[in-house]
Assembly symmetry: D2
Homo-oligomer: 139 residues x 4
């Protein structure tokens, strides 16, 4: 089961080549990730101070298949999966909407849960583990 | 009459001070402007090549009243008004949604219509003039 | 006396219109402001936690005169001035370098010093006041 | 042989977690790539219109090892290498300068040369091939 996030491409997403700037794809994927967490009832505004952990991105990769231009409507499908008890990945598909849907890009981020002070690896907080699990097991 | 654009604040909008980066307010306002044009039937993807004009921002100002953090839901009200036959302004109010709505920021951009090649001032293309006029006269 | 900051325009600064995105001018000005503080011996990394104050931007305005494209070399002149004992402004001129120097944009930001907890206005910390003063009196 | 690009971290690079936003690492790497091309005498402002090709990023990956904060001084080492006659990669190492240099992140981008109109794959323009080759053979 994946979370679907829709979005329109704006001028701020593009560069002088006329299309979306390549690094921006990861920002757009992260928006989808944030919305997926919010939809799962995780209040990202207070989550980190409340749990004492940080969950930085430790790795990312993106495969760019087709360009996007200003005004394009896209859908980002985000799907988490456990790697270990303190790391997980999120896979993203960016699809351009229209008469014919087109796969624009695929991305993947890895996240590692660490103590905000010691930076030692920590098991995921319960709510977050449930979010990763639920979507993993329902695939 | 103003156009209302809603938006959630994401990590990419913020900086290390923990709140939305000040220059980002203008990007968010420009998103609202693009959505207002799209809602008025103006296809920004092809508008400039089709009409042979460019309409750069010639001036902007922003008044920052309150901070915004990740997860905040905002509404941007955008309202255009003619200045001369080849210039117009757009006024923006950014409001944070919640139990009590709060005015977060006010902004204003000025736009000038020029020929894409000669850079001489041009009257606004018909559709765009109609958009500025409609909203102006309905206030 | 003003602080001079030089910079090259990169793809990430531009949008699909082929030139620097209008909101980016303020980011570029803020880079110059940060470098000016650093050059004055103010360690922005620790300044705010050390002094217990925040100094958000309360107002900004920009006048866009000419476009900038990828590869352009620019100089940003930044010059602070006191408004009151707890507010100051910074004026910026963005100049394009080359055979003939061209004024590209002018901007101005206003900053207000507040207590990080109570958000009450505070006099500027000594070092920062000295920076504003020095440049003001040496004009 | 790799090209070295130095840079200071600014507020606009960071997010509310207090460190550089993960997608920003790729922008910073692309700045290094643009500077490396410029240093090799390739005028990116006119390169694409002059040669009739586009060279979009087709793939990127980043490994994030340590955080960066506002004011950090970094060095980005960029090193190109051929993959095929119409594709090449650039490898990046981001290093934090200081008493002890620390490896902050590693990234890699893949680039494919296509005709700007037909989008068919093309051999690299001469100057660009020379840049990729020179650095490759001098390793």
């Amino acid at each position: 089961m994946s979370f679907a996030y829709s979005r329109t491409i704006h001028f701020a997403d593009t560069d002088a080549a006329g299309v979306v700037y390549f690094a921006r794809y990861l920002s757009i994927c992260h928006e989808a990730y944030e919305e997926a967490l919010a939809a799962a009832g995780i209040d990202i505004k207070n989550f980190f101070s409340a749990t004492g952990v940080m969950i930085p991105v430790s790795r990312s990769e993106t495969k760019y298949l087709r360009p996007l231009v200003v005004g394009d409507k896209i859908l980002v499908n985000a799907r988490p999966e456990f790697i270990t008890e303190n790391t997980y990945a999120v896979r993203y598909e960016i699809v351009k909407l229209g008469k014919v849907e087109k796969l624009i890009a695929e991305a993947r981020t890895e996240h590692v849960c660490i103590d905000a002070k010691t930076r030692e690896r920590q098991p995921l907080p319960h709510h977050l583990a449930a979010w990763v699990n639920q979507t993993t097991t329902q695939v």
